[in-house]
Symmetry: C2
Subunit: 421 residues, 2 copies
């Protein structure tokens, strides 16, 4: 049996005990695991040094090395995040609805664990602990497949978490980390994607290529996360200073995040008024601009540097200090453009016109639609969902920021006295 | 462009108008369509005669021919079902949750249409009208692919429904029926399964082979429906006369439905007391029994006919007057057996022991779990969900009977005054 299938089978078997586990036992497991991660700090940092050495040898880029790096402070952060998940209200056993059927059978619909959650992620060791904590909180077993570059760090964290499960009287097998590397590692990942009957949901966390590979190749259900080609649309009625504030914040506050804006739309009739101050502020913040002909003409007339956008620019998620600029004839063209090129993540209009705002809210097909606020608010913490697993850009199961409840399903419980149809 | 992709593209374009359509317009479209189906009764029955003639020539089985057949009365039934969907409360625009973020941005989460729903189904012409009505009610466009054997009937119904959309001022393109037949038809079906970006969800309705083909081949999200290998478990404490009533009802009231029981489990220690009356009643209702060694010994001692079950019997959905019988050591073995062989549909325990009932409810991993009631209650109408699209046996998005709300997703609407992070 392959490693992935063997581990998925063990997780599936352990999921029965996780389903039965009390809230107290699930909370205890996370707290015990957090304590063990804290205790194993030196061991984890040693493991991370080996990963980092290999990463430097392999010429990993500086931002990726930074994501891979663990320090005392970062491990404290991981431990704190685990404890925060433990402190959340129990997402399991909530009664969502209920009624007495005509026959007298008493029905209730309650939240229950999904069963086995698989996560495939890149070289971010902290995801190991986050995923474990969220899955334990929701009574799920979990199979993890971290990026090869982070293997030793992930293994050290996973071992500490498994010890936490055992200390709480739960099966250590409820956390599995697939170890295989290289070519064999890729094959194991593909087996995981097709382990129907063992894996209840697969959540890829990482770049667009990883996510697309899961969507195309997986036969188990997938939750698509993350890709965000977000727009800010400046309606002709927009207040110029508000437009500057929102666009600069949406683009530059943390350009590598999925809820950052990638494209600026502006009404033709207001381009002369709005583009110069907005574009000048963006350039001042180090943003490189590309635009359509009309936008470039306005920019040039005001001495603002703007390259020529090509068709591909409208669909790109730069994740960088770069932004495309496109002029539209009004709110309907803006909505059509957003629905055509957007990824269904977060979209904003800046306007002082009531009807335009409501039309944009109704017409845009995305997880989160804003009037007069930055797209950067789309976030589990900001939305009050607690620790976030990711942001779903799909429409099924969960859309937008995913808290623990995204890892639950429901079950109808029916209690009768011998009723038949 | 292939027919399926061209029609999916048109549906996708029409979905923008459907998303904007008022509740009144969506209700009107369904009522207008129902009136046109009623008016076109003779035309539809003529089309159905052609389908029936081909079906007889091709040697279609009697039960399938019965499903294909349309009569005046059945068309009245179809029209009535459409009107019932129109009468349901609007599933769109419901505010599910809301709060003011710390920044002062006012957030609400509302229900919105999925966009484009695709349905692939077998030779059941009524599904054409049901699917149209449910999708129009929820503001979705729909692409239908009915079984070839029902093509003329489905086409006649679809034309009437399209006319209803147009009469209500909505785009006729919001309903598409793929016409291609034979080999080309199969290729079009496969294109539909992989039309990411055009189709938001695919719902197969039909036998296990059709559903598995969609799960394996589709890259668009699929909702799995229907397969039900349901069990009734007789705990040692079960009342014998209640056990007889529930098992006979669950098995024989409508054996071709997915919520009918296929397998009977009984505690070893109570087999002598419970199996003879239950099995005798089943045989009296024409049920053929197969069982394990222990069950057969008990049956033989009481003169009840029972064949030998093979391993495959525990996993089979007979959809017929046939039932497998298996003895277990107690509630835990019953739960393990159900979770291993069941399809996650509907499972029942008959018991007078409080703890055994609660243990079964908690431990069984299925959409609906019953204490002392027939599995036959798992049904959208019975559960108060109105017209049913199917019964989901998956855990993502929706589990159990699916009403109109299964065809919706959510959107966060956020209204601010210039907030940034």
């Amino acid at each position: 049996m392959s490693e992935a299938i063997e581990k998925a089978t063990r997780a599936h078997e352990a999921s029965a005990a996780m389903r039965r586990a009390s809230n107290a036992a699930r909370v205890d497991a996370i707290r015990q695991a957090a304590a063990r991660v804290a205790e194993a700090r030196d061991l984890i940092i040693d493991a991370n040094r080996r990963d980092m050495a290999r990463a430097r040898e392999a010429g990993m880029s500086a931002p990726l090395q930074d994501r891979l790096l663990l320090t005392d402070e970062r491990i404290q952060g991981i431990v704190g995040a685990m404890r925060a998940v433990a402190d959340q209200a129990d997402p399991i056993g909530r009664v969502l609805t209920g009624r007495t059927l005509d026959s007298g059978v008493r029905m209730e619909q309650v939240t229950v664990p999904l069963g086995v959650v698989a996560m495939i992620y890149e070289a971010r060791p902290n995801v190991t602990a986050d995923a474990f904590a969220l899955c334990a909180r929701t009574g799920n077993a979990v199979v993890l497949r971290g990026g090869s570059a982070a293997h030793d760090s992930c293994r050290a964290i996973a071992d500490a978490c498994r010890a936490g499960l055992v200390a709480a009287g739960l099966p250590g097998d409820a956390l599995q980390l697939v170890d295989a590397q290289g070519e064999e590692g890729h094959r194991e990942t593909e087996r995981l994607m097709r382990a129907n009957g063992l894996i209840d949901v697969l959540i890829p966390r990482g770049g667009a290529a990883l996510i697309q590979s899961c969507v195309r190749n997986a036969t188990v259900p997938v939750i698509q996360t993350g890709t965000g080609n977000c727009h800010v649309y400046l309606h002709e009625s927009a207040d110029a200073s508000m437009a500057v504030r929102i666009v600069v914040n949406a683009k530059t506050q943390r350009p590598g995040t999925c809820n950052s804006a990638e494209s600026l739309l502006v009404d033709d009739v207001a381009a002369e008024r709005l583009l110069p101050p907005v574009c000048a502020a963006l350039v001042e913040h180090g943003v490189a601009l590309v635009g359509d002909e009309r936008a470039r003409a306005v920019a040039a007339a005001h001495g603002v540097k703007m390259g020529a956008a090509v068709e591909e620019d409208w669909g790109r998620e730069y994740l960088d200090l770069k932004m495309s600029v496109h002029c539209v004839s009004g709110v309907d063209e803006a909505i059509a453009h957003v629905n055509r090129y957007g990824t269904g993540h977060s979209e904003a209009i800046v306007t002082s016109d009531y009807a335009a705002g409501e039309r944009f809210l109704a017409g845009v097909d995305a997880a989160a639609v804003y009037v007069n606020a930055s797209t950067r608010f789309t976030d589990g913490g900001m939305f009050g969902l607690g620790c976030e697993i990711g942001i779903s850009t799909q429409k099924m199961h969960v859309r937008g920021p995913m808290g623990a409840s995204a890892l639950t399903t429901t079950k109808y419980l029916l209690r009768g006295d011998g009723q038949t149809r």
